[in-house]
């Protein structure tokens, strides 16, 4: 009977071996995958097990943490001036996960990042609790507040950039939400969260309009068309008369591209066309340059591509598959043209920075808990949409818009300001209230420290009114003032 006994012994050995192999597979081969599985609550537990690091603005924390009871999440994130900073921080909720900076730099904020390994090891050996690192942003508290308060009860967004570096100074979006209200894991948090969802609040307070919403840019896009025309050499002198007829009939159609309010646009100069915002002039410029040249210029400004600052910015759209009349319409910011407020701020910043578009970024550096720098964002050039010479011509045009054109509301005494208004129609047959746009920059003797784009969604304006100048320009002005008075 011993032979089968030995075989049974081998069989039992194989059973044990199978279990050992399986154990190795689970705990070694698949370990990381299981550890970070989306259903693994340990990920969230660990996220909130230690005091989370902070997100800093102007050297001060705009986030914090409190200890919670009766939950397996020990700490809860808190947000100071939540609605003000929500478009920057995103949220970090025990129940609903995290987004934006809170999500991207989660490992730094929890202290789990590999780059903090040494520090963490020292902490473990010395018996200290694990600490999170900090995320230092480039934002400007005063500018952000000016933007947020300027928008007030209106629906809209503001993005401001330092044109010289690409550093983002303000990102406001209204209506906003307070990430603190659902940072925990209780019934109250769920209620707050549900109330903020799109289906319960048609105003979509959790939508980051500055980065994730694209709007038809309307007349503000004319500066891109002007840049393309200058770059192409279509016109060298911004004061020479252009070859533009009124009425302008869209090519291959018998439809007229009308100007608003019966302004004089026949054969006006580029400067004058931008000052009074002639649809006929810029429409014709677009059609003359053609689709490919327009697309090339728009893409140099950053259109048709998602940006990562490092938070994802929705791609702004400039159609690459349009016919001639559609190109003319796109050139004045209509048809399928759509841009995020940040995209339009990038356009203004490239012009203000003598043609160089800097890569926009919102995180200056990442710090370990002991304030040593873990990562420093390097300033880099994204592209050069236009030459320095042409950029200065365009600046002169935009400055005229502010001194004696549609953008007078953005004038700041003693400071050179360039800008462009826009009133974008949208909806079926343009039935909905138009979007009011304003893009601008301010210039000092040390270059331009701020470029800003403002969009106000529900501007209650007549078509005829220059609502971009009326609603959006004052907000842009106060943001620029906030940066200049620093």
């Amino acid at each position: 009977m011993n032979k089968p006994l030995r075989r049974v012994a081998i069989f039992c050995g194989l059973l044990v071996l199978a279990m050992l192999i399986r154990a190795n597979y689970l705990q070694f081969v698949q370990a990381d995958e299981l550890k970070t599985n989306t259903h693994n609550r340990r990920v969230a537990i660990n996220q909130y097990a230690t005091p989370r690091g902070d997100i800093l603005v102007d050297g001060k924390a705009i986030t914090g943490h409190t200890e919670t009871n009766g939950s397996d999440f020990k700490y809860k994130a808190t947000f100071k001036d939540g609605p003000l900073w929500a478009p920057v921080t995103g949220y970090a909720s025990q129940a609903f996960g995290s987004t934006q900076l809170e999500s991207i730099y989660d490992s730094i904020l929890t202290g789990d990042d590999d780059r903090l390994f040494f520090k963490r090891t020292v902490d473990i050996l010395s018996g200290k609790e694990k600490q999170g690192g900090d995320v230092v942003t480039t934002l400007n508290g005063a500018a952000q507040r000016a933007a947020f308060e300027g928008l007030g009860n209106k629906k809209g967004a503001v993005a401001a950039i330092d044109p010289r570096t690409g550093a983002i100074l303000a990102l406001a979006s209204t209506p906003s939400y307070d990430p603190s209200s659902f940072a925990g894991n209780s019934v109250k948090d769920s209620k707050a969260w549900n109330a903020l969802q799109k289906e319960n609040d048609p105003d979509e307070p959790m939508l980051n309009r500055a980065l994730r919403q694209t709007y038809p840019p309307g007349s503000t896009f004319k500066v891109v068309t002007a840049a393309a025309a200058l770059q192409d050499g279509l016109y060298d002198d911004i004061d020479e008369p252009t070859d533009s007829e009124v009425p302008y009939i869209l090519p291959d159609t018998n439809q007229e591209l009308e100007n608003e309010g019966g302004i004089a646009c026949k054969n006006v100069s580029l400067r004058e066309a931008l000052r009074v915002s002639c649809n006929s002039v810029f429409g014709k410029l677009g059609a003359t340059l053609g689709r490919d040249k327009m697309v090339e210029e728009a893409e140099k400004f950053g259109f048709n591509k998602e940006q990562f600052i490092p938070v994802r910015v929705a791609a702004s759209n400039f159609s690459t598959k349009m016919d001639k009349p559609q190109t003319a319409l796109s050139a004045i910011g209509q048809f399928e043209t759509a841009a995020t407020p940040l995209q339009m701020a990038m356009v203004a910043s490239a012009i203000a920075n003598d043609g160089k578009l800097m890569q926009p970024y919102m995180v200056d550096k990442l710090q370990a808990p002991n304030n040593t720098v873990v990562e420093h964002t390097k300033v880099s050039e994204l592209s050069q949409p236009l030459s320095a010479d042409n950029a200065q011509k365009l600046q002169a045009m935009m400055e005229t818009v502010v001194t004696e054109g549609t953008g007078k509301n953005a004038q700041i005494p003693g400071v050179t300001v360039g800008g462009k208004t826009g009133t974008a129609q949208h909806g079926v047959d343009n039935s909905e209230k138009p979007y009011a746009w304003f893009i601008s920059y301010a210039k000092t003797d040390k270059g331009s420290p701020v470029a800003v784009a403002v969009v106000v969604e529900d501007a209650s304006a007549n078509r005829g009114d220059i609502s971009g100048g009326g609603f959006a320009a004052p907000i842009a002005k106060s943001v620029m003032e906030a940066v200049l008075n620093k």
Partner: protein, 470 residues
């Protein structure tokens, strides 16, 4: 089976009983869980647990009583089994206590039943009862061959035990429990496992020649005669019945696997294994097609994470994440989150806590301890001198091995989950009591096997020598 010669008489006089080895190993088997217990306390509350002295003394007392009994009543028994089993039992208590400290399980129990009752005191009591039964087996079962007399009675008792749960309400989808007012619930399958091994051993010892020799050759295999197929068909039918009526995949698998293994050992015919595997495949596939409970288990095995989408039990997925999160060295005792498994975290799924808190290293150590117990059991079977002892030893250790594989494999997602408990470690009275008895019987067989043979009563041998040996 061993040949008695004059030389063995001389050496066997001084044959080592290895009882001191056992004692030394037992010391470790008690100390390791005590340290682990302290570890849990330090990790969860930053202080040594208040019950540490009582717990340590309790475990030491159980181990001491068991050891003294073995020393007195089975002096030549295998020295490894008792320490291994004590270690598992002690560590099991630590893990159950650790899960008793879990706020998450407290909340869960309060939400479901209104109050939380710790399992550790109960488990300690069950362990004591288990050791008492172990002692009783060694004291009263002077020779395992006595069990042979109860072959058919065992069969009746085993059948009753297996069928009884059918008449009690299902608990969590499986009818494997009987509840006796005042005593609590009992899982008769755990006891049936031992009794059925006794029946098989007795039955096969008598029938082995008939089963092995009377056969027809067909396609290279020796096919058993129709009438010899009877018993295997009966057992097969019964295991299918258990599966269908009690929806207990584990017990029917164990039951049938045990029979095939013992049949193979008794007859030395590979054809029986082929038959066994074929029939279990047919039975399993057949039942899985019709029985929703079994089907659910198979689906959960194929895609454990589907539970998060369709709202079925996420236990297996939670257990897998628990293992994965443990990594190689584990989180440390008391610092894991295996309690996320929720239901049965400290019984069927306790291995996940081992994996998460002691890591791959600890889990492999546990699996090897189980493997070692099985190895000692098989060794006992090899050493046993009588066929009944051989069959019983391989039956018991085979059942133990199958049970460990079925539970651990299920929890680790290697095979579909079946409702069985990890021997000695998992919380549950029936399991721990029955397994202590199982080890008692193995020690009895091993003592008989390793006991030096009595000196031949040759006329010129001194009478005193015989006395010394006995």
């Amino acid at each position: 089976m061993s040949v008695v010669t004059n030389t063995t008489t001389i050496t066997s006089v001084g044959a080592p009983s290895r009882r001191n080895t056992e004692l030394a190993l037992l010391l470790f088997a008690v100390l390791i869980p005590v340290f682990a217990y302290a570890n849990v306390g330090l990790a969860t509350t930053d202080e040594l647990p208040s019950g540490m002295l009582g717990y340590g003394l309790g475990l030491a007392a159980l181990a001491g009583v068991a050891h003294l009994t073995v020393r007195k009543f089975a002096p030549y028994a295998d020295p490894l089994l008792l320490p291994l089993v004590t270690l598992l039992n002690g560590m099991g208590l630590v893990f159950i206590w650790r899960l008793d400290q879990s706020p998450r399980l407290h909340q869960r129990a309060e939400a479901l039943f209104g109050s939380f009752s710790p399992d550790t005191p109960k488990q300690l009591l069950y362990s004591a009862v288990g050791v008492a039964l172990f002692v009783a087996v060694l004291v009263f079962l002077k020779d395992h061959r006595i069990l042979q007399r109860y072959t058919y009675i065992s069969m009746v008792v085993a059948l009753i035990l297996l069928i009884l749960p059918m008449f009690f309400p299902a608990v969590n989808g499986a009818k494997i429990w009987i509840s006796i007012p005042g005593v609590g619930t009992i899982q008769p399958g755990e006891f049936a496992k031992i009794i059925i091994a006794v029946f098989f051993s007795g039955y096969l010892m008598v029938k082995r020649d008939a089963l092995a020799l009377a056969s027809r050759r067909f396609m290279g295999l020796y096919l058993p005669r129709g009438r010899d197929l009877g018993p295997i068909l009966v057992i097969w039918g019964l295991s299918i019945l258990i599966l269908v009526f009690e929806t207990d995949l584990g017990t029917s698998l164990l039951f049938f696997g045990l029979f095939v293994v013992m049949l193979y050992v008794a007859t030395e015919r590979t054809s029986w294994i082929v038959f066994g595997l074929l029939m279990s495949a047919v039975g399993a596939v057949g039942v899985a097609t019709f029985e929703p409970h079994v089907q659910e288990r198979v689906d959960a095995w194929l895609d454990p994470f589907a539970a998060f989408k369709d709202g079925t039990s996420d236990q297996v997925a939670q257990a897998l994440m628990s293992f994965g999160s443990g990594g190689i060295l584990g989180t440390g005792l008391g610092q894991g989150n295996s309690d996320l498994i929720g239901f049965a975290a400290n019984s069927d799924f306790i291995l996940a806590t081992v994996g998460e808190e002691l890591g791959l290293a600890g889990l492999m150590a546990f699996l090897l301890v189980y493997g070692l117990i099985v190895e000692r059991g098989v060794r006992t079977a090899l050493a046993a001198r009588d066929p009944f002892g051989k069959l019983l030893a391989i039956g018991l250790s085979g059942a133990f091995a199958l049970q460990v594989f079925v539970v651990a494999g299920g929890v680790m997602g290697l095979i579909p989950l079946t409702g069985m408990t990890m021997p000695f470690v998992a919380a549950g009275g029936s399991s721990v009591i029955a397994n202590w008895a199982l080890v008692g019987i193995l020690l009895r067989i091993s003592d008989t096997a390793r006991r030096p043979a009595p000196a031949p009563t040759s006329p010129d041998a001194e009478p005193t020598q015989v006395v010394r040996v006995q």
